[in-house]
Symmetry: C2
Amino acid sequence: MARLVMKFGGTSVADIDRIRNVARHVKREVDAGHQVAVVVSAMAGETNKLVALAREASPLHDAREYDAVVASGEQVSSGLLALVLQAMGVDARSWQGWQIPIRTDEAHSVARIVDIDGARLIERLEQNQVAVVAGFQGISPDNRIATLGRGGSDTSAVAIAAAIDADRCDIYTDVDGVYTTDPRIVARARRLEKVSFEEMLEMASLGAKVLQVRSVELAMVKGVRVMVRSSFEDPASVRDGANGLPHGTLICDEDEIVEQQVVTGIAYSKEEAQISIRGVADKPGVAADVFVRLADAHINVDMIVQNVSPDGSTTDITFTVPDASYDQAKQVIESARNTLTYTEIEGVRDVVKVSVVGVGMRSHAGVAARAFQALADRNINILAISTSEIKISVLIDQAYTELAVRTLHSVYGLDKQ
Amino acid sequence: MARLVMKFGGTSVADIDRIRNVARHVKREVDAGHQVAVVVSAMAGETNKLVALAREASPLHDAREYDAVVASGEQVSSGLLALVLQAMGVDARSWQGWQIPIRTDEAHSVARIVDIDGARLIERLEQNQVAVVAGFQGISPDNRIATLGRGGSDTSAVAIAAAIDADRCDIYTDVDGVYTTDPRIVARARRLEKVSFEEMLEMASLGAKVLQVRSVELAMVKGVRVMVRSSFEDPASVRDGANGLPHGTLICDEDEIVEQQVVTGIAYSKEEAQISIRGVADKPGVAADVFVRLADAHINVDMIVQNVSPDGSTTDITFTVPDASYDQAKQVIESARNTLTYTEIEGVRDVVKVSVVGVGMRSHAGVAARAFQALADRNINILAISTSEIKISVLIDQAYTELAVRTLHSVYGLDKQ
């Protein structure tokens, strides 16, 4: 007997037929003797419809009213799944965020979960009643519905799993797991059986959009084992594999991963833009001045490169920002021209960040050097480099994306045999 | 300064443009210095859509889950109206049933309101914040959403009005008031400026479908003055009339109606069917036996006529039931043939009940005789008669509906001059 959380997104509950398919997945786990809490998103398209209505009502909307409107989608899907489960003979009830309660902070529409009281859920689970929890929402300190922001149902699922001390949190998606890289680019990409929280964080934030980043952070902090698996599998034919896990990818503590690879995956992100400030005075405080201004404008700066100045008087500062912030970032720098002396600003938008990720890097030297050599062999010019303990990122011309990803995927031995 | 409840149905909030029109009505009252609570239904069509989803999910649905699904419609419309009001510069917030709270009994999907704590609403109203309340719902003793059944938003509005001690509860509808009879039948029907609770109850339950019957009962018990008025009026040109009231019909205590007519209106209902049991043994307990069986089958019996038997041994029992229960009622009687001796059952479905209503009847003799004479003059045969203190109902052949209603409307001097 295990205690499981199962999370299904909007596509999986888009109509009653699909909700029946979800219910068959749930019934399978119940029949296997497990205690089950299910977290659901709104029916596909509903949240967008509700967001559009709220925007039409008031472009500058009160986030508390926006939340009351938008959260109704999960109220509907949770009630419908409970009804379908009951019709299949499975004892079930729906739980809204305010009924559990799932307490959030006051940041309506982008709220964070502060605390979940799991006691009532556990009591019902122990009576073998399935808990169907409305995802994406909780209740704020002023007793009003608060939503967690788009994709928040993943976070709801992980938080519920932590609150009820679940053995595993299964996230059912339209893919069957996390891959070594994007299979659309590299046909020989392999599904990972297990990946560590840290690696998944780097993969998720770098563009492998399987799971919301916040949900992975929360899973890491709370030690919740998360399984990415496919909702398209036939519920009747699901069997655990030789490793004791169903087909998918387990995101877990690195201690649970026995055969650790040096490199786990290659991620990439095209939503980057590069800005260079030329001829900046090379004296203390200048770099700080630039980045404080960008931070004040809520612009997220990622890679930063400052060259050592050849003449000792001026230098060049290069950094990347999300492509969506490119124009604003240039404006911020230009408007500071009076206090910040420089000769010119240059920008490039058609760049891509390619990242090599793996916790094994911590104990292996030379990982970065192999990447640089492999790219050089293909005549790919590196515009900027940044590294962390478990990641090496390079910024290159976007035209070389596929070539770079395939090259690195092969170099680190990730290709499927 | 007055404290007002304003209630708008689904057609009035069907899209954002119509919600803006509702908001203009609300703003007019706020600008006039009034404290305002608004009660809204779901956007037109939404409740039907949600009911269809719940039925598709499970034909024999758990009423608690059905309620969670169906109540989401009012959550959306209340949030949207709050947003539109804010965009117009009117301070407003939405209130769900569980936030106020509106406490109901356990009869999910047909719940009754048990208690409303008006304290929080009053606190906000006194700060000149408009309260936008989701109609049709409350919270049951087990902390779950409970709906009041179709049309329950009228009842929500009256209950909120009682809880906050409102001066008036304005029900905005697609008609501009309550008429002496159906204007589609009698062109000279007049709008009533005022009508008593008791009269309105007889009118509403007899087919003048302006207000839900339960809301009128509640208004009478709680002494809430209810105004039926049109949502199609231009919000900018609304003015109070010579009687100090806006255009519409005030439903109030009869003490507030100075110039009381003997007869207030003529109502009719075609959803009736007549059943006669011939040759029943004329001894004590037989009638009880018949009607206990019908009550056990939840069939609502209305008019009952038992003739004095000419020979002292057998009699005929005639009664009416809702036309929808006609077949079931005949089955109940037929299945009791073994214990209930009778010669035959007869039924007529194309009948109509026409009622003359007026609190003035209490102190005026001869009202019924005038009706019977007028119908006889037109050669209209009366199949059954029932009377109450303030009502005379006759059952006639449905073909004579218009003639009977017009005749009685004239006889009692109700025609517009």
